[in-house]
């Protein structure tokens, strides 16, 4: 069968979501952000909620998320996305509000905001990209950096006595009464991408049901700052990140 006979509209099975813009993402080749943006856009498209969804972008690599997902966006100060999301959701209870944050944004400078938004049980969706490093500023230690991991500010590897321990903030979040769904996912292969997408969809559905805060961590790679190829970074993540940050639902009620 000739390729030309296959590539026809009636045979289309999968392509770019209509909720993604045509702007080329600034992310490095192989960055997990792109995959998460894609599945977030697909969930918004499939639920038909493009006109009802307000996104909050962080400070960090995902600051420009607003260029890529075609919804209304607020660009928050570093760590404050949950505060913006709180007010937005309270003032528009029928909209879907999603805060998209990295590990430095959510688990370091914005710890108070995320803890209290989750504890109040704000009916928002939080997507937490944990790649264990500061991407945009050039690879410094993040709160989630693993022990021994080399970064620009831990050039000889993270040491507990000097730098403290990697923070499992998702486990802390799961302890809070206000959260209804807390899960840890990844997007390095087709199966994990599908699972992560299901988790994000569930988070959005929870938000409509006013069950409380849904929190989806995506264990991710930052191959540039990890100084690996994208494929090698995915493997390194599976071997080193997953044992410390195990995948799966931590809370679902």
């Amino acid at each position: 069968m000739d390729i030309k006979d296959i590539i026809k509209p009636e045979n289309f099975v999968y392509g770019k979501s209509k909720v993604l813009t045509d702007t080329v993402m600034h992310y490095c080749p192989g960055c997990s952000h792109g995959v998460v943006h894609k599945i977030l856009a697909e969930v918004i498209e499939e639920m038909g909620i493009q006109d009802k969804t307000i996104g909050i972008s962080p400070v960090g690599c995902a600051v420009f998320a607003y260029k890529y997902i075609d919804i209304d966006w607020q660009q928050a100060a570093h760590g404050r996305a949950p505060a913006l999301a709180t007010a937005t959701k309270r003032l528009y209870p029928d909209k879907y509000v999603v805060a998209y944050q990295g590990d430095g944004d959510l688990a370091s400078i914005g710890t108070a905001e995320i803890m209290h938004a989750c504890n109040r049980g704000e009916n928002i969706v939080v997507i937490f990209i944990n790649n264990a490093i500061y991407g945009m500023t050039g690879g410094q230690m993040a709160p989630t950096t693993l022990l021994g991991m080399k970064t620009a500010t831990t050039p000889y590897g993270r040491r507990a006595d000097l730098n403290g321990y990697p923070l499992k903030i998702t486990e802390l979040i799961a302890q809070l009464e206000g959260t209804c769904y807390v899960t840890r996912q990844s997007v390095q292969n087709p199966g994990s991408v599908r699972k992560a997408k299901k988790a994000i969809r569930k988070a959005f559905e929870n938000s409509a049901l006013k069950k409380g805060t849904s929190f989806v961590e995506i264990v991710s790679t930052c191959n540039s700052n990890w100084k690996m190829t994208p494929v090698k970074a995915n493997k390194w993540m599976e071997e080193n990140m997953f044992p410390f940050y195990p995948l799966g639902d931590i809370k679902d009620r």
């Binding site: 026809k8 192989g30 960055c31 390095q188 292969n189 994208p230």
Partner: protein, 73 residues
């Protein structure tokens, strides 16, 4: 039931990360020797006969550059 598939790559938007290559179960995809205008080698169907249209490549593509088509045979 067997399937036959094909992909279309948005060559200019491909960054050549090769995550699709690593995730293709039928060794259909490879990175081209040529590069796009940004200097990235882009992915293409090196062995188009192998493609089953499973969509794994497009699912893991961070830049949504792959469109997948599939027919039953």
């Amino acid at each position: 039931m067997a399937f036959k598939g094909a992909i279309v790559v948005d060559i200019e938007k491909c960054k050549g990360c090769s995550v699709c290559v690593a995730n293709c179960p039928t060794q259909t995809i490879a990175l081209a020797k040529k590069v796009n205008s940004k200097g990235y080698p882009y992915c293409y169907m090196e062995n188009p006969d192998n493609c089953t249209g499973c969509g794994n490549c497009a699912t893991v593509c961070p830049d949504s550059v792959i469109t997948v088509y599939r027919v039953k045979i």
